[in-house]
């Protein structure tokens, strides 16, 4: 696998290979790059930030409570797209639990004062 290290502005081009169960990184110039490369190869994770629809109009910004497996990101986005918020929430509130079965929740990153539109 090839990727770019994001640990610093150097942006080293990393090549990551697995032989006999041992993951090795080349192209890095420091130990942080090696750790990053191994993580990206074995278990890459991403924070997901997106929007949930609010019933009657508007959007609520949310984030995952912790980084989730990269392979689950698109499923998490699909779940977010299927939800419609119809209540007031405070920043930090859990709005969707166990997103994409990742163990992480979507939490609101802003306050939402919900008023039912007639």
């Amino acid at each position: 696998m090839e990727t770019t290290c994001i640990m610093c502005p150097m942006g080293c081009a990393l090549t990551i290979e697995e032989k006999n169960g041992v993951v090795s990184v080349t192209g890095n110039t420091c130990p942080r790059g090696e750790k990053y490369g191994v993580g990206e190869y074995t278990d890459p994770k991403r924070m997901v930030t997106t929007l949930l629809k609010v019933r009657g109009g508007g959007v609520l910004s949310v984030k995952t409570s912790e980084p989730i497996r990269k392979a689950l990101v698109s499923l998490a986005l699909q779940e977010a797209a299927s939800v419609c918020i119809g209540r007031s929430v405070k920043a930090g509130d859990i709005v969707l639990q166990n997103v994409a079965n990742s163990g992480a929740d979507f939490i609101a990153t802003a306050d939402l004062t919900y008023t039912e539109k007639v």
């Binding site: 994001i6 942006g11 110039t29 991403r46 930030t49 984030k63 986005l77 797209a81 920043a91 990153t109």
Partner: protein, 411 residues
């Protein structure tokens, strides 16, 4: 006419930090903000990555803004005017503003902090050739429509410019179901952060072409496509290699301009490089009592640096009112090889450390940053890599300074 010690124009990250800085000196403070709430651009930046330096944790834009907003709104010494657009300010520091709720507002200020932020370069600013259909947006406008108003601006997207907002919007629009066909960058390198290239483009297999630009756009009511072509060393498009890409949306992420219209024609000396004011280490402009901080002073890549800079400006603005700021700065900070600009552009002789922030003009590897005063080498700092998109600083001890300074790169 109401009077305040420190009046801050703009209630984004810079304005809020300046208010807190001024309050810590005991000044009475007013913030004039033209939007309906404090927070500025942070309110629409729903992605995370803010605050790693300032708070030691990764926050989203709304969360970063909220930390400052809470502090500002709970302080009775800070008066916040919302939906208040400042129309003019005079050199004796009288401001005129209008708001739908209060009508004409006149305020007399002991000192002023300019914190108006920046705006995006538009299709007109880059002389985009072709028709003028719907579907051409600056990246930040599309971001606001998406993240604040809840509208997806298009379904088949091409992005010109690889600035951070463009990269972030590539991911955002993909997340919302749009197809981002191409991101192109006129220069042979990106001005965006590495992290954004990896996590916003590579993660979603969105192609990024360097040294490429839009040559013209087509479409009558709505954009139907763009012609793109690679450019030569002089950044001129090679038309023989022009290629057509059908799309309904073109996002522009082609640079930011400090929004200094309010002080155009004033006696405040401006920098032609930053398009912001020339300031000293207190972030005071060349007109006494007028300070500047944040993206209106020079465009930043990290909000953490904005907060830090604006805190200095706010604190200094309060010290000016109390009569505690030294007279005119006397040492100039100039730049040499490889450095586009350094800020502050002037400093005072005296004690204490001062950070000189600077940007390089291209990507450099294994260079040494030097600060010289005449023949004296005051500071040198080895670096692995320097990129135009990442602001740097060197800290110097003012005791060592005897004359004008020069920040430069050496082998």
């Amino acid at each position: 006419m109401r009077k305040f010690d420190v009046v801050i124009i703009g209630g984004g990250p810079a304005g809020m930090a300046a208010a807190i800085g001024a309050r810590e000196q005991g000044a009475s403070v007013a913030i004039l903000e033209r939007d309906v709430r404090l927070g500025g651009i942070l309110n629409q930046c729903i992605h995370n990555g803010f605050g790693l330096h300032y708070f030691g944790e990764e926050l989203t834009g709304p969360e970063y803004a909220e930390r400052f907003r809470k502090k500002v709104l709970s302080d009775e010494g800070i008066t916040v005017y919302l939906e208040a657009m400042v129309l003019s300010l005079t050199e004796d520091r009288v401001l005129t503003a209008v708001s739908p709720t209060q009508g004409l507002i006149e305020i007399s200020a002991g000192s002023i902090v300019l914190a108006m932020g920046c705006r995006e370069r538009s299709a007109g600013a880059i002389g985009l050739v072709g028709t003028r259909p719907a579907g051409i947006y600056t990246a930040g406008m599309a971001q606001r429509l998406s993240n604040v108003n809840g509208f997806l601006v298009g379904k088949e997207v091409v992005i010109l410019g690889s600035g951070d907002i463009g990269l972030i919007m590539a991911r955002r629009m993909t997340s919302e179901g749009a197809k981002v066909k191409l991101v192109m960058e006129l220069m042979p390198f990106s001005s965006g952060l590495k992290r954004n290239i990896v996590q916003c483009l590579n993660d979603y297999d969105i192609p990024l072409r360097y040294s490429t630009t839009v040559t013209r756009v087509t479409g009558k009511e709505r954009l139907t496509g763009v012609y793109v072509a690679p450019v030569d060393e002089k950044l001129q498009p090679i038309l023989e290699k022009e290629e057509y890409i059908p799309c309904d949306t073109l996002l522009l992420s082609v640079g930011l301009i400090p929004e200094n219209d309010l002080i155009a024609g004033s006696n405040i000396e401006m920098s032609r490089v930053t398009s912001g004011a020339v300031v000293d280490e207190y972030r005071q402009t060349t007109v006494p009592g007028i300070f500047s901080a944040g993206n209106v002073l020079h465009v930043h890549d990290l909000v953490d640096n904005v907060s830090e800079e604006a805190f200095i400006a706010g604190r200094s603005a309060a010290q000016f009112v109390a009569g505690n700021l030294p007279e005119k700065a006397c040492v100039s900070v100039t730049v040499g090889r490889g450095v586009r600009y350094a800020l502050p552009q002037r400093i005072h002789l005296g004690e204490g450390n001062v950070r000189l922030y600077f940007r390089v003009d291209q990507v450099y590897r294994s260079m040494t940053v030097t600060v010289r005063s005449g023949n004296d080498l005051l500071k040198k700092k080895k670096t692995m890599v320097l990129a135009p998109g990442e602001m740097q600083y060197v800290e110097i001890d003012k005791c060592l300074v005897s004359g004008d300074l020069c920040v430069a790169l050496e082998e």
